[in-house]
């Protein structure tokens, strides 16, 4: 009687095939886990590179960021990135472009975008995907600008002489009646050009000297004022006695100065009946603090 117990060859082959399939699935999970780890590490590396470059460009001032693009690779960050390369190469590109906000004032800003690209490889080492990490941020137009000019060295006596008048200034006096002139022989003290309307705070300091052989009387004074472009007097006009106060300073506010180029003029005049008395400019410094003008108070 045929009553064979045990395993036939076919059964063993089937068991082997099933075991092989299970082993293949486990191996796929193990190998797949390895490549998933590498993918995650590559993404982290690309993010690190992108973030460093973005921070680097955001540290630039608004004026130093020129529209355009620049490229590089990991070696620009640090040699440590080069030493840890594993046949995946990372290349970054920075794009800078300029735009303006909506609204009446159209405030400019610069958009900085950093892209890092890298190619992923499959288990056979063939490049299969190009991945991109992209980060973006803006650098806004500065809310406050500070501009300062000063004389580099004391001026020699006689270089800049104050114009003289024997009249005494009074409010409402006509321009042609008095003898105002710029402290630098009519030249502007400084100029500026902002992209948005600004409120200005202007501070100036003058150091003066006089001919000690012909000193001014104790009651002789120097008048100073500030003008924007060829406009009227801004702020207050100072009257300073020459003998007792050889430093003149003034601070004034000018509101809603329009966008575009402007010049600042500091003017003076020496009130004296005596033509032999000379007053000279020894040194000056002017500072303009420009704050973005707000439409609504």
């Amino acid at each position: 009687m045929k009553n064979a117990k045990g395993l036939s060859l076919i059964e063993i082959l089937v068991v082997l095939i099933i075991t092989g399939l299970i082993a293949a699935c486990v191996s796929a999970a193990v190998i797949g886990g390895y490549y998933m780890l590498k993918q995650a590490e590559h993404k982290s590396r690309a993010m690190s590179i992108t973030h460093v470059k973005l921070q680097e460009y955001l540290s630039h001032s608004f004026d130093n960021l020129q529209p355009g693009q620049e490229s590089g690779n990991e070696s620009n960050i640090s040699n440590a990135f080069v030493e840890t390369q594993d046949n995946t190469y990372f290349n970054w590109t920075v794009f800078i472009d300029q735009d303006k906000t909506m609204g009446a004032n159209r405030v400019p800003y610069k958009n900085v975008t950093v892209e890092t690209k890298y190619s992923e490889v499959d288990p056979q080492g063939k490049a299969v995907n190009t991945r991109t990490i992209r980060l973006s941020n803006v650098v806004p137009y500065p809310l406050i600008h500070i501009l300062s000019r000063k004389s580099q060295a004391p001026f020699p006596d006689g270089k800049y002489e104050a114009p003289r008048t024997d009249l005494r200034y009074y409010p409402g006096m006509k321009e042609e009646e008095y003898n105002w002139a710029g402290i630098l022989d009519g030249a502007k003290v400084l100029d500026f050009n902002y992209a948005v309307p600004k409120d200005l705070i202007i501070m100036y300091n003058l150091a003066i000297s006089y001919d000690t052989d012909h000193p001014p009387d104790p009651d002789e004074t120097v008048m100073t004022r500030c003008r924007i472009d060829n406009g009227g007097t801004e702020g207050i006009i100072t009257r300073t006695p020459i003998r007792s106060q050889v430093f003149i300073n003034n601070i004034l506010q000018v509101g809603n100065v329009g966008a575009g180029p402007h010049t600042v003029h500091i003017e003076w005049c020496h009130e004296s009946d005596n033509a032999g008395v000379k007053v000279w400019l020894r040194a000056y410094d002017v500072t303009v603090v420009a704050v973005e003008y707000k439409d609504n108070p």
Partner: protein, 194 residues
């Protein structure tokens, strides 16, 4: 009558096949186990690097004084420790008024554990220290300034942290991990001319 059971030959073949199969399973599980250890170690390393860089990005920008400044503005310069005066509470910064003396460094002196630490200093004494990256990863920190030929601003530098995961070699991964962060200082320049 035929006897039930296996012959010796069948038993030997079955044992051999089973041995091969179990060896394969054992090998796969060993590799999987190693991989898991390596993944955990690398995850820990990345976490610690990330924590260290986040701490630096939090404390350093509001520094009111740099005590280990870069001295060259026109060249690549790298230093391996950074000491500065910063805010005791980095979430409550008063401009230019830091009150705590901080130092980031790797403790690689004789008898030290090789960890990357944040130290709070009191003169030359260390008041307290916090480990950011454990010494077992052999961390290295570099504070890098690329200089003006790269159009770098004087208030910007890059921090690079490298660590080593020794077990990674076992499964064919690179043992060195590296991550970087860009730090822009708000109140001071990191370059201080000599």
């Amino acid at each position: 009558m035929r006897n039930r059971g296996m012959t010796l030959l069948e038993l030997l073949i079955a044992l051999a096949l089973a041995g091969v199969i179990f060896l394969g399973i054992f090998h796969v599980s060993t590799i999987a186990g190693k991989q898991i250890h390596v993944y955990i170690e690398r995850y820990n390393a990345y976490s610690q690097i990330g924590y260290a860089l986040d701490d630096m990005a939090l404390r350093m920008p509001s520094a009111s004084k740099i005590k280990t400044p870069f001295t060259q503005s026109g060249a690549l310069e790298t230093i391996h420790a950074m000491r500065f005066i910063g805010a005791s509470d980095p979430y409550h910064v008063v401009p230019y008024e830091g009150d705590t003396d901080y130092r980031y460094r790797v403790r690689n002196g004789a008898g030290e554990d090789g960890a990357l630490v944040l130290e709070v200093m009191d003169g030359s004494n260390i008041e307290k220290a916090e480990i950011l990256v454990e010494g077992k990863f052999r961390p290295r920190v570099s504070f890098i300034r690329h200089g003006e030929q790269h159009d770098a601003e004087p208030d910007f530098m890059t921090v690079v942290i490298e660590v080593f995961c020794d077990k990674s070699k076992a499964i064919g991964l690179p043992e060195k991990l590296v991550k970087a962060e860009g730090i822009r200082f708000w109140f001071v320049d990191v370059v201080q001319p000599q």
